[in-house]
């Protein structure tokens, strides 16, 4: 009796939960993804075995799972899109996609997701696409463990690695993107998370936010991109535990904040960037426990920044700690560690007894006449910096750290 119940139950589960698996391979009955998709019922699985499959503009209109075996390669023949996901609950993983189309007029993508919910894109390798993964008007998806890369040289003929437009609640994690225009691009994307990604050697930005709110990005590494991360016209963004490094070049920076409000920048590390953070017109932002090491300019503040608060950050060995182009200051810099601080701490409370001025006269001069940078660390520059320190004339006189730390924050 009991045995028969089990058998009945097993039959039942098998029938409902795990539906059919469709195998495709060059020598199978099903030789293409299209055939398999035609036959598959919703919730079926298509297993793409080793082989090369030509796919152009293939539309996925039902919830299916497509899993690639090792060596399963999808060839887009350099025409149009490769896979278009137009249904909810689609999962694609394990495929290698080559030869996606390029265009100057259309946003061709290796994987295009439109008005879909609950999608998962994982373990994909997308080689030299125009756009790698393009998500539009989609929600509640997960994009993880993908590798998207190209060999782009110019901004105008390349697309972005992972591009989201009008999406929400998407999680993007553990992806690697390089050699494209922007590594990851978010426009009108809310309540999403970008975590543990590695974007490097992209022409423009490693990560790019536009008009996106309540998002967070955590533990990503942005290395040697045109610029690390640009966050523009966005609110309530949490930036935490990321690494911004080697973003070198003219007006290049680890992080650009432009017209953003109420953000938190916590525990990130900015090392060896031309500019660590470039702040332009941004308000109510807290920068806490970040490390700025060996940057050209740790923080460059442009006009219209109010109530920014720097606290418990480490500024170590930067050519310039803070640079201002105005004499006005409405931001606070109390309680940071500055490696250039030369004051003393007689009462041994870990707070220097003499305030620190992070803006040097020389940084003001370099802003005006960039070539003077060649005189950095010269005795003459030290002398004029010292005289400015004693009586500020050109730099904001209230820009002071009143409680400079005498030890490096761990």
């Amino acid at each position: 009796m009991r045995l028969s119940i089990v058998i009945i139950l097993l039959f039942f589960i098998n029938h409902i939960g795990n539906t059919s698996v469709w195998n495709i391979c060059p020598s199978c009955q099903l030789k293409s993804l299209e055939e398999a998709l035609d036959r598959a019922e919703p919730m079926d699985t298509i297993r793409v075995q080793k082989g090369l499959y030509e796919c152009v503009d293939i539309e996925i209109n039902k919830p299916v799972v497509i899993i690639g075996d090792e060596g399963a390669v999808i060839d887009g023949l350099e025409k149009g899109y490769v896979l278009k996901i137009l249904s909810d609950s689609v999962t694609i993983s394990g495929l290698k996609i080559i030869n996606a189309g390029k265009s100057y007029t259309k946003d061709f993508a290796a994987i295009y997701v439109y008005r879909a919910n609950h999608f998962t894109l994982s373990n994909l390798e997308i080689i030299n696409p125009f756009f790698g993964i393009l998500l539009e008007k989609s929600k509640n998806g997960n994009v993880h463990h993908n590798k998207v890369y190209g060999v782009s040289q110019r901004e105008d003929d390349s697309g972005n690695g992972i591009h989201l437009w009008h999406c929400s609640n998407v999680i993007i994690e553990q992806n690697e993107v390089y050699g494209l225009r922007d590594g990851i691009y978010l426009e009108f994307v809310d309540d999403s998370k970008v975590m543990n990604n590695y974007t490097h050697d992209n022409i423009r930005y490693g990560l790019h936010f536009m008009f996106s709110n309540r998002d967070e990005y955590v533990e990503n590494i942005f290395e040697n991109n045109g610029a690390g991360v640009a966050v523009m016209f966005s609110k309530f963004i949490l930036m935490k535990e990321n690494t911004f490094t080697h973003n070198w070049g003219t007006a290049s920076y680890g992080l650009l904040l432009k017209e953003i409000y109420d953000a938190e920048v916590i525990d990130n590390s900015f090392t060896e960037n031309t500019i660590g953070i470039f702040i332009d017109g941004s308000t109510r932002i807290n920068y806490t426990e970040n490390l700025f090491e060996q940057n050209g300019w740790a923080v460059k503040v442009s006009g219209g920044c109010y109530t920014n608060k720097f606290f418990k950050n480490n500024f170590i060995g930067n050519s310039f700690d803070i640079s201002y182009n105005a004499k006005m200051n409405d931001n606070t810099f109390d309680g940071n560690y500055w490696s250039d601080y030369t004051g003393y701490d007689l009462d041994k409370d870990g707070i220097g007894d003499v305030p620190y001025r992070p803006v040097k006269l020389f940084s003001y001069i370099v802003n005006k006449t960039p070539e003077t940078i060649i005189l950095l660390r010269s005795l003459f520059v030290d002398i004029i910096n010292f005289s400015e320190k004693v009586s500020p004339v050109f730099t904001p006189d209230n820009l002071i750290d009143n409680q400079p730390s005498t030890f490096i924050f761990q």
Partner: protein, 261 residues
Amino acid sequence: MMLKVLKYSFSDLIRSRWSYVYLAFYLVLGFVLLFLNENLSKAVITLMNIVVVLTPMIGTIFGIMYFYNSREFTELLLAQPIRRRTIFLGQYLGVALSLSLSLILGLGIPFTIYGITQSGQIWDFATLLISGTFLTFIFSGLSIYIGLLNSNKIKGFGYAILIWLFFAVIYDGIFLISLIVFDDYPLDKFTLFASFFNPIDLSRIMILLKLDISALLGYTGALFQKFFGTGQGLIVAFIMLLLWVAGPMLLMVKKSTKKDF
């Protein structure tokens, strides 16, 4: 023969108490910096600022002091069957080598004890010692040349200090002001060019290329980019420093063959 002269002036200098003072100074400086910073990289940075200013100064002062103090020795040598060139080059090398040795040992010992050889800073540190050595050679050469030009000790001393002051501070001041004044013109060629004519600036740039490359690469000028971004900057700076060593040496040789003693 030159080696013999070098040997004697070197051993003479090695015995003089000033060499020890100088050596001791660097030893103390090295240990104090390491003790205060507990951090090799920061100690190296602080040291760079000091070395670029100090080695030319010490080179200048020692060079001129040695020149005037060793007049007897020089006269003794002049009556011997030795070429004049040999005498002065030998003495010059004696001064420059003993000072460089003080620098290298004085800083090398504390930093080696603190493990610089195993750290990532080893190349920064090596650059520091190399440019310090270059500056020592350049400025002791210049000051011996000044000594040859001026029989009057006080005048010679004054000029030597002035030369140091000029290259260490005044030159950069004029440089900076002219950059600001001629702001409207393309300046990057001028900037690179002008820095070639000051050995202190040159060695500072060698150090900047190590420490501040992030900032240096922030500039638009194509020449700047090329100079700093590819190894070119380092090579050019190096060659210019070599020329800077050769210049005073040639002047010295030329003057020494024409002077009465």
